[in-house]
Point group: C2
Chain length 309, copies 2
Protein backbone atom coordinates (compact mmCIF):
# COMPACT_ATOMS: atom_id res chain seq x y z
CA UNK A 1 0.00 0.00 0.00
CA UNK A 2 1.51 3.34 -1.04
CA UNK A 3 0.38 6.92 -0.83
CA UNK A 4 -0.38 6.73 -4.58
CA UNK A 5 -2.76 3.75 -4.35
CA UNK A 6 -4.48 4.76 -1.14
CA UNK A 7 -4.44 8.40 -0.17
CA UNK A 8 -6.24 9.70 2.91
CA UNK A 9 -9.31 11.75 2.05
CA UNK A 10 -11.12 12.35 5.35
CA UNK A 11 -10.75 12.16 9.11
CA UNK A 12 -14.01 10.67 10.41
CA UNK A 13 -14.73 11.00 14.13
CA UNK A 14 -17.38 9.30 16.29
CA UNK A 15 -17.25 11.28 19.55
CA UNK A 16 -19.83 10.13 22.04
CA UNK A 17 -20.62 10.42 25.71
CA UNK A 18 -18.12 7.76 26.80
CA UNK A 19 -15.78 7.15 23.88
CA UNK A 20 -13.74 8.86 21.17
CA UNK A 21 -13.09 6.95 17.92
CA UNK A 22 -11.35 8.34 14.84
CA UNK A 23 -10.82 6.83 11.40
CA UNK A 24 -8.59 7.87 8.53
CA UNK A 25 -10.60 7.15 5.38
CA UNK A 26 -9.48 7.01 1.74
CA UNK A 27 -11.45 8.27 -1.30
CA UNK A 28 -13.46 5.04 -1.39
CA UNK A 29 -14.35 5.20 2.29
CA UNK A 30 -11.96 2.39 3.24
CA UNK A 31 -10.48 2.63 6.73
CA UNK A 32 -6.72 3.22 6.48
CA UNK A 33 -6.13 3.60 10.21
CA UNK A 34 -8.13 4.06 13.39
CA UNK A 35 -7.71 5.40 16.90
CA UNK A 36 -9.83 4.97 20.00
CA UNK A 37 -9.71 6.47 23.49
CA UNK A 38 -11.96 6.47 26.51
CA UNK A 39 -12.27 10.20 26.18
CA UNK A 40 -15.97 10.77 25.69
CA UNK A 41 -17.36 14.29 26.06
CA UNK A 42 -18.06 13.77 29.76
CA UNK A 43 -14.30 13.40 30.34
CA UNK A 44 -13.44 16.70 28.64
CA UNK A 45 -13.79 19.89 30.62
CA UNK A 46 -15.43 23.01 29.23
CA UNK A 47 -13.06 24.69 26.79
CA UNK A 48 -10.88 21.57 26.61
CA UNK A 49 -12.20 20.26 23.30
CA UNK A 50 -9.64 21.85 20.89
CA UNK A 51 -6.75 20.45 22.96
CA UNK A 52 -8.35 16.99 23.27
CA UNK A 53 -9.01 17.06 19.51
CA UNK A 54 -5.37 17.82 18.69
CA UNK A 55 -4.04 15.32 21.22
CA UNK A 56 -6.16 12.47 19.88
CA UNK A 57 -5.68 13.12 16.16
CA UNK A 58 -1.98 14.09 16.37
CA UNK A 59 -0.04 13.46 13.14
CA UNK A 60 -3.23 12.84 11.15
CA UNK A 61 -3.83 16.57 11.25
CA UNK A 62 -0.65 17.44 9.32
CA UNK A 63 -2.03 17.21 5.75
CA UNK A 64 -4.91 19.58 6.45
CA UNK A 65 -7.69 17.09 5.71
CA UNK A 66 -11.27 17.95 6.63
CA UNK A 67 -12.69 16.41 9.79
CA UNK A 68 -16.29 15.24 10.00
CA UNK A 69 -17.64 14.30 13.42
CA UNK A 70 -20.84 12.67 14.66
CA UNK A 71 -22.29 11.99 18.10
CA UNK A 72 -22.75 13.83 21.37
CA UNK A 73 -19.85 16.13 20.50
CA UNK A 74 -22.55 18.20 18.77
CA UNK A 75 -24.80 18.34 21.82
CA UNK A 76 -25.21 21.17 24.30
CA UNK A 77 -22.71 19.37 26.57
CA UNK A 78 -20.26 18.86 23.68
CA UNK A 79 -17.82 21.13 21.85
CA UNK A 80 -20.27 23.16 19.79
CA UNK A 81 -24.02 22.62 19.50
CA UNK A 82 -25.23 21.41 16.10
CA UNK A 83 -28.98 22.16 15.88
CA UNK A 84 -31.32 19.26 15.12
CA UNK A 85 -32.72 18.71 11.62
CA UNK A 86 -36.39 17.70 11.56
CA UNK A 87 -37.43 14.27 10.22
CA UNK A 88 -38.19 13.04 7.60
CA UNK A 89 -34.62 13.76 6.49
CA UNK A 90 -32.07 12.03 4.30
CA UNK A 91 -28.41 12.09 3.36
CA UNK A 92 -28.86 15.33 1.42
CA UNK A 93 -30.47 17.11 4.39
CA UNK A 94 -27.69 16.06 6.73
CA UNK A 95 -24.95 17.02 4.25
CA UNK A 96 -26.43 20.46 3.71
CA UNK A 97 -26.84 21.18 7.43
CA UNK A 98 -23.35 20.34 8.69
CA UNK A 99 -22.37 22.49 11.65
CA UNK A 100 -19.00 24.24 11.38
CA UNK A 101 -17.02 24.17 14.61
CA UNK A 102 -15.91 27.75 15.27
CA UNK A 103 -12.26 28.64 15.86
CA UNK A 104 -9.00 28.41 13.96
CA UNK A 105 -8.37 24.68 13.56
CA UNK A 106 -6.40 24.90 10.29
CA UNK A 107 -9.05 22.95 8.35
CA UNK A 108 -12.78 22.39 8.00
CA UNK A 109 -14.06 20.72 11.17
CA UNK A 110 -17.75 19.92 10.93
CA UNK A 111 -20.37 18.10 12.96
CA UNK A 112 -23.29 16.10 11.59
CA UNK A 113 -26.54 17.48 13.08
CA UNK A 114 -28.84 15.26 15.10
CA UNK A 115 -32.41 14.63 14.06
CA UNK A 116 -35.65 15.61 15.75
CA UNK A 117 -39.12 14.13 15.41
CA UNK A 118 -42.56 14.85 16.85
CA UNK A 119 -45.04 12.00 17.12
CA UNK A 120 -48.76 12.28 16.40
CA UNK A 121 -49.34 13.67 19.93
CA UNK A 122 -46.69 16.33 19.27
CA UNK A 123 -44.21 14.87 21.74
CA UNK A 124 -40.56 15.41 20.81
CA UNK A 125 -37.86 12.83 20.24
CA UNK A 126 -34.19 13.27 19.30
CA UNK A 127 -31.29 11.31 17.83
CA UNK A 128 -27.63 12.32 17.84
CA UNK A 129 -25.04 10.04 16.27
CA UNK A 130 -27.39 7.30 15.13
CA UNK A 131 -28.51 9.40 12.10
CA UNK A 132 -24.99 8.87 10.73
CA UNK A 133 -25.20 5.10 11.25
CA UNK A 134 -28.60 5.07 9.56
CA UNK A 135 -27.29 6.69 6.37
CA UNK A 136 -24.33 4.30 6.52
CA UNK A 137 -26.52 1.23 5.97
CA UNK A 138 -26.74 -0.34 2.52
CA UNK A 139 -29.55 1.69 0.94
CA UNK A 140 -32.61 -0.43 0.21
CA UNK A 141 -35.61 0.88 -1.71
CA UNK A 142 -38.23 -0.67 0.59
CA UNK A 143 -39.34 0.56 4.00
CA UNK A 144 -37.10 -0.83 6.73
CA UNK A 145 -37.36 -0.97 10.51
CA UNK A 146 -33.91 -0.35 11.97
CA UNK A 147 -33.06 -0.79 15.66
CA UNK A 148 -29.90 0.56 17.27
CA UNK A 149 -29.73 -0.86 20.82
CA UNK A 150 -27.90 1.03 23.54
CA UNK A 151 -28.40 3.12 26.66
CA UNK A 152 -31.16 4.85 24.72
CA UNK A 153 -32.24 2.45 21.99
CA UNK A 154 -33.39 3.98 18.71
CA UNK A 155 -35.99 2.51 16.39
CA UNK A 156 -36.14 4.16 12.96
CA UNK A 157 -38.23 3.78 9.84
CA UNK A 158 -35.89 4.18 6.86
CA UNK A 159 -36.90 4.37 3.21
CA UNK A 160 -33.94 4.38 0.83
CA UNK A 161 -31.61 7.14 2.08
CA UNK A 162 -34.43 8.81 4.01
CA UNK A 163 -35.09 8.53 7.75
CA UNK A 164 -38.86 8.84 7.95
CA UNK A 165 -39.40 8.77 11.73
CA UNK A 166 -37.95 7.26 14.89
CA UNK A 167 -38.67 6.41 18.53
CA UNK A 168 -36.29 6.20 21.47
CA UNK A 169 -36.63 3.75 24.36
CA UNK A 170 -34.74 4.18 27.62
CA UNK A 171 -34.45 0.44 28.33
CA UNK A 172 -30.65 0.32 28.56
CA UNK A 173 -30.45 3.11 31.11
CA UNK A 174 -33.40 1.74 33.11
CA UNK A 175 -31.75 -1.71 33.18
CA UNK A 176 -28.51 -0.24 34.54
CA UNK A 177 -30.37 1.86 37.15
CA UNK A 178 -32.39 -1.10 38.39
CA UNK A 179 -29.32 -3.34 38.66
CA UNK A 180 -27.22 -0.72 40.43
CA UNK A 181 -29.62 1.18 42.64
CA UNK A 182 -32.93 -0.65 43.11
CA UNK A 183 -34.19 -3.34 45.46
CA UNK A 184 -33.95 -5.74 42.48
CA UNK A 185 -30.19 -5.30 42.32
CA UNK A 186 -29.84 -6.43 45.94
CA UNK A 187 -30.97 -9.95 45.05
CA UNK A 188 -28.73 -10.20 41.98
CA UNK A 189 -25.35 -11.87 41.75
CA UNK A 190 -22.60 -11.35 39.18
CA UNK A 191 -23.24 -13.30 35.99
CA UNK A 192 -20.40 -14.43 33.77
CA UNK A 193 -22.71 -14.76 30.79
CA UNK A 194 -26.31 -14.38 29.75
CA UNK A 195 -28.71 -17.01 31.11
CA UNK A 196 -30.63 -17.68 27.89
CA UNK A 197 -33.55 -19.44 29.55
CA UNK A 198 -34.07 -16.72 32.16
CA UNK A 199 -33.81 -14.12 29.39
CA UNK A 200 -36.50 -15.94 27.38
CA UNK A 201 -38.78 -16.10 30.45
CA UNK A 202 -38.36 -12.33 30.83
CA UNK A 203 -39.29 -11.75 27.18
CA UNK A 204 -42.35 -13.99 27.62
CA UNK A 205 -43.37 -12.24 30.86
CA UNK A 206 -43.53 -8.92 28.98
CA UNK A 207 -46.50 -10.32 27.02
CA UNK A 208 -48.52 -10.95 30.21
CA UNK A 209 -51.08 -8.60 31.71
CA UNK A 210 -50.03 -6.12 34.37
CA UNK A 211 -47.67 -3.66 32.71
CA UNK A 212 -43.96 -3.09 33.19
CA UNK A 213 -44.14 -1.45 36.63
CA UNK A 214 -45.94 -4.52 37.98
CA UNK A 215 -43.68 -6.97 36.16
CA UNK A 216 -40.61 -5.29 37.68
CA UNK A 217 -41.75 -6.12 41.19
CA UNK A 218 -42.23 -9.69 39.98
CA UNK A 219 -38.47 -9.90 39.42
CA UNK A 220 -38.06 -9.49 43.18
CA UNK A 221 -40.93 -11.78 44.16
CA UNK A 222 -39.72 -14.52 41.80
CA UNK A 223 -36.27 -14.18 43.33
CA UNK A 224 -37.63 -14.31 46.91
CA UNK A 225 -39.40 -17.60 46.19
CA UNK A 226 -36.46 -18.90 44.14
CA UNK A 227 -38.86 -19.30 41.22
CA UNK A 228 -36.12 -17.55 39.23
CA UNK A 229 -32.57 -18.54 40.20
CA UNK A 230 -30.70 -15.48 41.49
CA UNK A 231 -27.94 -16.26 38.99
CA UNK A 232 -30.41 -15.53 36.18
CA UNK A 233 -32.18 -12.45 37.56
CA UNK A 234 -30.15 -9.98 35.48
CA UNK A 235 -30.95 -11.92 32.31
CA UNK A 236 -34.63 -12.20 33.30
CA UNK A 237 -34.81 -8.43 33.87
CA UNK A 238 -32.99 -7.76 30.59
CA UNK A 239 -35.47 -9.95 28.67
CA UNK A 240 -38.39 -8.30 30.46
CA UNK A 241 -37.27 -4.79 29.52
CA UNK A 242 -36.39 -5.58 25.91
CA UNK A 243 -39.68 -7.48 25.56
CA UNK A 244 -41.60 -4.44 26.82
CA UNK A 245 -39.59 -2.17 24.53
CA UNK A 246 -40.49 -4.26 21.46
CA UNK A 247 -44.17 -4.44 22.45
CA UNK A 248 -44.25 -0.67 23.00
CA UNK A 249 -42.56 0.12 19.70
CA UNK A 250 -45.01 -2.16 17.88
CA UNK A 251 -47.86 0.05 19.07
CA UNK A 252 -46.16 2.96 17.24
CA UNK A 253 -44.91 1.38 14.03
CA UNK A 254 -47.24 -1.60 13.69
CA UNK A 255 -46.11 -5.19 13.31
CA UNK A 256 -42.32 -5.03 13.23
CA UNK A 257 -41.91 -8.03 10.90
CA UNK A 258 -38.24 -7.78 10.04
CA UNK A 259 -35.67 -5.66 11.85
CA UNK A 260 -32.23 -4.47 10.79
CA UNK A 261 -30.19 -4.49 14.00
CA UNK A 262 -27.21 -2.14 14.10
CA UNK A 263 -24.62 -2.20 16.85
CA UNK A 264 -21.78 -4.02 18.53
CA UNK A 265 -22.07 -7.62 19.74
CA UNK A 266 -23.50 -8.21 23.22
CA UNK A 267 -26.58 -6.08 23.65
CA UNK A 268 -27.27 -6.41 19.91
CA UNK A 269 -27.37 -10.20 20.27
CA UNK A 270 -29.78 -9.92 23.19
CA UNK A 271 -32.09 -7.83 21.00
CA UNK A 272 -31.76 -10.38 18.17
CA UNK A 273 -32.83 -13.14 20.55
CA UNK A 274 -35.78 -11.14 21.92
CA UNK A 275 -36.93 -10.24 18.40
CA UNK A 276 -36.71 -13.86 17.27
CA UNK A 277 -38.68 -14.94 20.36
CA UNK A 278 -41.28 -12.33 19.33
CA UNK A 279 -41.52 -13.83 15.85
CA UNK A 280 -39.51 -11.14 14.04
CA UNK A 281 -36.84 -11.69 11.41
CA UNK A 282 -33.46 -10.06 12.02
CA UNK A 283 -30.61 -8.79 9.84
CA UNK A 284 -27.47 -7.74 11.68
CA UNK A 285 -25.28 -4.83 10.60
CA UNK A 286 -22.02 -3.89 12.28
CA UNK A 287 -22.35 -0.59 14.13
CA UNK A 288 -18.75 0.51 13.68
CA UNK A 289 -18.79 0.17 9.92
CA UNK A 290 -22.18 1.96 9.77
CA UNK A 291 -20.53 5.00 11.37
CA UNK A 292 -17.57 5.18 9.01
CA UNK A 293 -19.67 4.55 5.91
CA UNK A 294 -22.22 7.12 7.07
CA UNK A 295 -19.58 9.79 7.74
CA UNK A 296 -17.94 9.06 4.39
CA UNK A 297 -21.23 9.30 2.49
CA UNK A 298 -22.15 12.57 4.16
CA UNK A 299 -18.66 13.99 3.51
CA UNK A 300 -18.84 12.91 -0.14
CA UNK A 301 -22.24 14.57 -0.57
CA UNK A 302 -20.92 17.74 1.12
CA UNK A 303 -17.81 17.81 -1.07
CA UNK A 304 -15.40 17.38 1.85
CA UNK A 305 -13.35 14.41 0.58
CA UNK A 306 -9.69 15.22 0.01
CA UNK A 307 -10.29 18.93 0.55
CA UNK A 308 -7.21 20.60 1.99
CA UNK A 309 -6.80 24.15 3.17
Amino acid sequence: MTDDSQQAALIAVDWGTSNFRAYLLDRDGEVMAERAAEQGILKVSDGGFPAAFRAQLGSWLAPGLSVLMAGMIGSRQGWSEAPYVACPAGLEDLASALHVVPGDLGRKVMIVPGLSWRDKSGVHDVIRGEETQLVGLDPAPERRVVCLPGTHAKWAIVEGERIVSFSTAMSGEVFALLCQHSILGRLMVEQDCQDDEAFARGVARAKDDGGLLHHLFGVRAQGLFEAEPVTGLRSYLSGLLIGHEIAGIETVIGDVGHVTLVGAAGVRDAYAKALELSGCGVTIFDGGSAVTVGLWRIAQRAGLLGVKF
Copy 2:
Protein backbone atom coordinates in the same frame (compact mmCIF):
# COMPACT_ATOMS: atom_id res chain seq x y z
CA MET B 1 -60.17 9.56 81.65
CA THR B 2 -59.24 7.07 84.31
CA ASP B 3 -57.72 3.61 84.27
CA ASP B 4 -61.23 2.27 84.93
CA SER B 5 -62.85 3.88 81.89
CA GLN B 6 -59.99 3.37 79.46
CA GLN B 7 -57.55 0.61 80.18
CA ALA B 8 -54.76 -0.35 77.77
CA ALA B 9 -55.40 -3.69 76.08
CA LEU B 10 -52.71 -3.97 73.38
CA ILE B 11 -49.45 -2.51 72.16
CA ALA B 12 -49.79 -2.26 68.37
CA VAL B 13 -46.58 -1.70 66.36
CA ASP B 14 -46.10 -0.77 62.71
CA TRP B 15 -42.39 -1.40 62.11
CA GLY B 16 -41.37 -0.80 58.53
CA THR B 17 -38.25 -0.28 56.47
CA SER B 18 -37.83 3.37 57.43
CA ASN B 19 -40.04 4.02 60.44
CA PHE B 20 -41.15 2.64 63.78
CA ARG B 21 -44.63 3.57 65.06
CA ALA B 22 -46.29 2.22 68.19
CA TYR B 23 -49.81 2.69 69.60
CA LEU B 24 -51.28 1.91 72.99
CA LEU B 25 -54.83 0.70 72.28
CA ASP B 26 -57.75 0.21 74.65
CA ARG B 27 -60.31 -2.63 74.53
CA ASP B 28 -62.29 -0.79 71.83
CA GLY B 29 -59.26 -0.17 69.65
CA GLU B 30 -59.07 3.53 70.53
CA VAL B 31 -55.58 5.02 70.47
CA MET B 32 -54.61 6.06 74.01
CA ALA B 33 -51.05 7.10 73.17
CA GLU B 34 -48.59 6.80 70.31
CA ARG B 35 -44.86 6.90 69.68
CA ALA B 36 -42.88 7.28 66.48
CA ALA B 37 -39.18 7.14 65.64
CA GLU B 38 -37.12 7.07 62.49
CA GLN B 39 -35.87 3.66 63.48
CA GLY B 40 -36.95 1.43 60.63
CA ILE B 41 -35.47 -2.05 60.32
CA LEU B 42 -32.66 -0.79 58.09
CA LYS B 43 -31.40 1.31 61.02
CA VAL B 44 -31.23 -1.63 63.44
CA SER B 45 -28.20 -3.90 63.27
CA ASP B 46 -28.49 -7.69 63.35
CA GLY B 47 -29.29 -8.81 66.88
CA GLY B 48 -30.25 -5.27 67.91
CA PHE B 49 -34.01 -5.73 67.68
CA PRO B 50 -34.78 -6.71 71.34
CA ALA B 51 -32.88 -3.67 72.61
CA ALA B 52 -34.51 -1.31 70.06
CA PHE B 53 -37.90 -2.76 71.00
CA ARG B 54 -37.38 -2.10 74.73
CA ALA B 55 -35.94 1.36 74.12
CA GLN B 56 -38.86 2.46 71.95
CA LEU B 57 -41.67 1.00 74.05
CA GLY B 58 -40.17 1.87 77.46
CA SER B 59 -42.75 2.23 80.23
CA TRP B 60 -45.53 0.78 78.06
CA LEU B 61 -43.99 -2.61 78.65
CA ALA B 62 -44.48 -2.55 82.42
CA PRO B 63 -48.02 -4.06 82.58
CA GLY B 64 -47.07 -7.10 80.48
CA LEU B 65 -49.51 -6.42 77.64
CA SER B 66 -49.23 -8.40 74.41
CA VAL B 67 -47.51 -6.75 71.47
CA LEU B 68 -48.72 -7.24 67.91
CA MET B 69 -46.49 -5.99 65.12
CA ALA B 70 -46.91 -5.62 61.34
CA GLY B 71 -44.58 -4.64 58.51
CA MET B 72 -41.06 -5.41 57.34
CA ILE B 73 -40.12 -6.37 60.92
CA GLY B 74 -41.39 -9.81 59.87
CA SER B 75 -39.22 -10.00 56.74
CA ARG B 76 -35.94 -11.83 56.26
CA GLN B 77 -34.16 -8.53 56.98
CA GLY B 78 -36.26 -7.91 60.12
CA TRP B 79 -36.30 -9.32 63.63
CA SER B 80 -37.80 -12.73 62.94
CA GLU B 81 -39.20 -13.98 59.63
CA ALA B 82 -42.97 -14.51 59.56
CA PRO B 83 -43.78 -16.84 56.62
CA TYR B 84 -46.26 -15.60 54.01
CA VAL B 85 -49.88 -16.79 54.03
CA ALA B 86 -51.28 -17.53 50.56
CA CYS B 87 -54.18 -15.46 49.19
CA PRO B 88 -57.17 -15.52 49.19
CA ALA B 89 -56.93 -14.93 52.94
CA GLY B 90 -58.96 -13.04 55.50
CA LEU B 91 -58.85 -11.76 59.07
CA GLU B 92 -59.26 -15.30 60.42
CA ASP B 93 -56.31 -16.64 58.39
CA LEU B 94 -54.03 -13.84 59.56
CA ALA B 95 -55.08 -14.21 63.22
CA SER B 96 -54.43 -17.95 63.18
CA ALA B 97 -50.98 -17.62 61.54
CA LEU B 98 -49.40 -15.01 63.83
CA HIS B 99 -45.67 -15.52 64.14
CA VAL B 100 -44.31 -15.66 67.69
CA VAL B 101 -41.06 -13.74 68.11
CA PRO B 102 -38.66 -16.12 69.89
CA GLY B 103 -36.83 -15.12 73.09
CA ASP B 104 -37.79 -14.08 76.59
CA LEU B 105 -39.59 -10.77 76.19
CA GLY B 106 -41.82 -11.11 79.26
CA ARG B 107 -45.01 -11.17 77.15
CA LYS B 108 -46.49 -12.42 73.89
CA VAL B 109 -44.79 -10.59 71.03
CA MET B 110 -46.25 -11.57 67.69
CA ILE B 111 -45.93 -10.54 64.05
CA VAL B 112 -48.70 -10.51 61.45
CA PRO B 113 -47.62 -12.63 58.45
CA GLY B 114 -47.39 -11.13 54.99
CA LEU B 115 -49.46 -12.45 52.10
CA SER B 116 -48.37 -14.16 48.92
CA TRP B 117 -50.15 -14.52 45.61
CA ARG B 118 -49.46 -16.17 42.26
CA ASP B 119 -51.08 -14.73 39.16
CA LYS B 120 -52.51 -16.79 36.29
CA SER B 121 -49.01 -17.16 34.81
CA GLY B 122 -47.77 -18.49 38.16
CA VAL B 123 -45.64 -15.42 38.88
CA HIS B 124 -45.29 -14.59 42.58
CA ASP B 125 -46.23 -11.41 44.38
CA VAL B 126 -45.93 -10.47 48.05
CA ILE B 127 -47.32 -8.00 50.58
CA ARG B 128 -45.98 -7.28 54.06
CA GLY B 129 -47.67 -4.70 56.26
CA GLU B 130 -50.43 -3.73 53.84
CA GLU B 131 -52.44 -6.90 54.72
CA THR B 132 -52.98 -5.34 58.15
CA GLN B 133 -54.20 -2.08 56.63
CA LEU B 134 -56.54 -4.02 54.34
CA VAL B 135 -58.26 -5.78 57.23
CA GLY B 136 -58.43 -2.42 59.01
CA LEU B 137 -60.80 -0.94 56.43
CA ASP B 138 -64.52 -0.72 57.13
CA PRO B 139 -65.69 -4.12 55.94
CA ALA B 140 -68.01 -3.87 52.93
CA PRO B 141 -69.86 -6.84 51.49
CA GLU B 142 -69.19 -5.96 47.84
CA ARG B 143 -65.98 -6.48 45.87
CA ARG B 144 -63.64 -3.52 46.32
CA VAL B 145 -60.49 -2.36 44.56
CA VAL B 146 -58.10 -0.96 47.15
CA CYS B 147 -54.87 0.87 46.28
CA LEU B 148 -52.11 1.57 48.80
CA PRO B 149 -49.60 3.92 47.10
CA GLY B 150 -45.96 3.93 48.15
CA THR B 151 -42.47 2.86 47.11
CA HIS B 152 -44.11 -0.39 46.01
CA ALA B 153 -47.79 0.38 45.45
CA LYS B 154 -50.23 -2.40 46.24
CA TRP B 155 -53.55 -2.98 44.46
CA ALA B 156 -55.84 -5.47 46.17
CA ILE B 157 -59.24 -6.97 45.50
CA VAL B 158 -61.07 -7.20 48.83
CA GLU B 159 -64.41 -8.89 49.47
CA GLY B 160 -65.73 -8.34 52.98
CA GLU B 161 -62.89 -9.31 55.33
CA ARG B 162 -61.19 -11.37 52.65
CA ILE B 163 -58.23 -10.30 50.49
CA VAL B 164 -58.85 -12.13 47.22
CA SER B 165 -55.75 -11.17 45.23
CA PHE B 166 -53.29 -8.33 44.78
CA SER B 167 -50.68 -6.80 42.44
CA THR B 168 -47.63 -4.72 43.27
CA ALA B 169 -46.26 -1.91 41.08
CA MET B 170 -42.77 -0.49 41.55
CA SER B 171 -43.71 3.02 40.40
CA GLY B 172 -42.60 4.83 43.56
CA GLU B 173 -39.13 3.31 43.56
CA VAL B 174 -38.74 3.80 39.79
CA PHE B 175 -39.75 7.47 40.16
CA ALA B 176 -37.12 8.02 42.86
CA LEU B 177 -34.41 6.23 40.84
CA LEU B 178 -35.14 8.24 37.71
CA CYS B 179 -35.11 11.55 39.58
CA GLN B 180 -31.91 10.76 41.50
CA HIS B 181 -29.78 8.77 39.08
CA SER B 182 -30.99 9.05 35.47
CA ILE B 183 -30.43 11.48 32.64
CA LEU B 184 -33.99 12.74 33.32
CA GLY B 185 -32.98 13.95 36.77
CA ARG B 186 -30.26 16.17 35.31
CA LEU B 187 -32.84 18.39 33.62
CA MET B 188 -35.03 18.66 36.71
CA VAL B 189 -35.12 21.45 39.24
CA GLU B 190 -36.43 21.44 42.79
CA GLN B 191 -40.19 21.86 42.93
CA ASP B 192 -41.89 23.37 45.94
CA CYS B 193 -45.17 21.76 45.03
CA GLN B 194 -46.82 19.57 42.45
CA ASP B 195 -47.38 21.19 39.05
CA ASP B 196 -50.94 19.97 38.48
CA GLU B 197 -51.00 20.71 34.76
CA ALA B 198 -47.70 18.95 34.06
CA PHE B 199 -48.91 16.01 36.17
CA ALA B 200 -52.11 15.80 34.12
CA ARG B 201 -50.10 15.87 30.86
CA GLY B 202 -48.02 12.97 32.18
CA VAL B 203 -51.17 10.97 33.02
CA ALA B 204 -52.52 11.69 29.52
CA ARG B 205 -49.23 10.72 27.86
CA ALA B 206 -49.45 7.27 29.47
CA LYS B 207 -52.50 6.60 27.26
CA ASP B 208 -50.52 7.20 24.03
CA ASP B 209 -48.84 4.53 21.92
CA GLY B 210 -45.20 3.69 22.52
CA GLY B 211 -44.99 2.12 25.97
CA LEU B 212 -43.40 3.38 29.17
CA LEU B 213 -39.75 2.93 28.10
CA HIS B 214 -40.36 5.17 25.10
CA HIS B 215 -42.43 7.69 27.06
CA LEU B 216 -39.63 8.03 29.62
CA PHE B 217 -37.23 9.31 26.97
CA GLY B 218 -39.93 11.77 25.97
CA VAL B 219 -39.56 13.41 29.39
CA ARG B 220 -36.04 14.36 28.36
CA ALA B 221 -36.89 15.36 24.81
CA GLN B 222 -39.82 17.52 25.98
CA GLY B 223 -37.46 19.17 28.45
CA LEU B 224 -34.78 19.77 25.80
CA PHE B 225 -37.26 21.59 23.56
CA GLU B 226 -38.86 23.33 26.54
CA ALA B 227 -42.17 21.78 25.53
CA GLU B 228 -42.44 20.89 29.22
CA PRO B 229 -41.13 23.55 31.62
CA VAL B 230 -38.23 22.13 33.64
CA THR B 231 -40.04 23.24 36.79
CA GLY B 232 -42.77 20.72 35.98
CA LEU B 233 -40.70 17.74 34.80
CA ARG B 234 -40.92 15.90 38.14
CA SER B 235 -44.70 16.25 38.13
CA TYR B 236 -44.90 15.20 34.46
CA LEU B 237 -42.82 12.08 35.23
CA SER B 238 -44.91 11.31 38.30
CA GLY B 239 -48.13 11.52 36.28
CA LEU B 240 -46.62 9.40 33.50
CA LEU B 241 -45.62 6.61 35.91
CA ILE B 242 -48.88 6.59 37.88
CA GLY B 243 -50.82 6.68 34.59
CA HIS B 244 -48.91 3.64 33.35
CA GLU B 245 -49.40 1.88 36.68
CA ILE B 246 -53.19 2.35 36.51
CA ALA B 247 -53.33 1.22 32.85
CA GLY B 248 -51.25 -1.86 33.69
CA ILE B 249 -53.34 -2.79 36.72
CA GLU B 250 -56.52 -2.44 34.64
CA THR B 251 -55.25 -5.21 32.36
CA VAL B 252 -55.16 -7.50 35.41
CA ILE B 253 -58.32 -6.57 37.32
CA GLY B 254 -60.47 -5.14 34.56
CA ASP B 255 -62.06 -1.71 34.60
CA VAL B 256 -61.12 -0.22 37.97
CA GLY B 257 -64.33 1.78 38.34
CA HIS B 258 -64.04 2.92 41.94
CA VAL B 259 -60.93 2.76 44.10
CA THR B 260 -60.49 2.91 47.85
CA LEU B 261 -57.19 4.76 48.34
CA VAL B 262 -55.36 4.09 51.60
CA GLY B 263 -52.34 6.09 52.71
CA ALA B 264 -50.96 9.35 53.95
CA ALA B 265 -51.55 12.65 52.14
CA GLY B 266 -49.14 13.58 49.34
CA VAL B 267 -48.61 10.56 47.13
CA ARG B 268 -52.16 9.43 47.94
CA ASP B 269 -53.51 12.72 46.57
CA ALA B 270 -51.46 12.31 43.39
CA TYR B 271 -53.05 8.88 42.89
CA ALA B 272 -56.49 10.34 43.55
CA LYS B 273 -55.89 12.94 40.83
CA ALA B 274 -54.58 10.38 38.33
CA LEU B 275 -57.53 8.07 39.02
CA GLU B 276 -60.00 10.89 38.58
CA LEU B 277 -58.30 11.89 35.30
CA SER B 278 -58.71 8.25 34.24
CA GLY B 279 -62.43 8.39 34.97
CA CYS B 280 -62.35 6.43 38.25
CA GLY B 281 -64.20 7.26 41.43
CA VAL B 282 -62.14 7.52 44.62
CA THR B 283 -62.78 7.00 48.33
CA ILE B 284 -59.95 8.02 50.64
CA PHE B 285 -59.09 6.17 53.84
CA ASP B 286 -56.41 7.26 56.28
CA GLY B 287 -53.46 4.86 56.23
CA GLY B 288 -52.49 5.34 59.89
CA SER B 289 -55.90 4.49 61.24
CA ALA B 290 -56.10 1.47 58.90
CA VAL B 291 -52.99 0.05 60.61
CA THR B 292 -54.24 0.47 64.17
CA VAL B 293 -57.72 -0.82 63.38
CA GLY B 294 -56.22 -3.76 61.48
CA LEU B 295 -53.84 -4.69 64.30
CA TRP B 296 -56.65 -4.37 66.86
CA ARG B 297 -59.02 -6.56 64.82
CA ILE B 298 -56.38 -9.26 64.33
CA ALA B 299 -55.47 -9.16 68.04
CA GLN B 300 -59.13 -9.40 69.02
CA ARG B 301 -59.63 -12.42 66.73
CA ALA B 302 -56.47 -14.04 68.16
CA GLY B 303 -57.55 -13.42 71.76
CA LEU B 304 -54.62 -11.14 72.55
CA LEU B 305 -56.52 -8.11 73.96
CA GLY B 306 -55.75 -7.40 77.58
CA VAL B 307 -53.82 -10.65 77.99
CA LYS B 308 -51.07 -10.32 80.58
CA PHE B 309 -48.41 -12.84 81.47
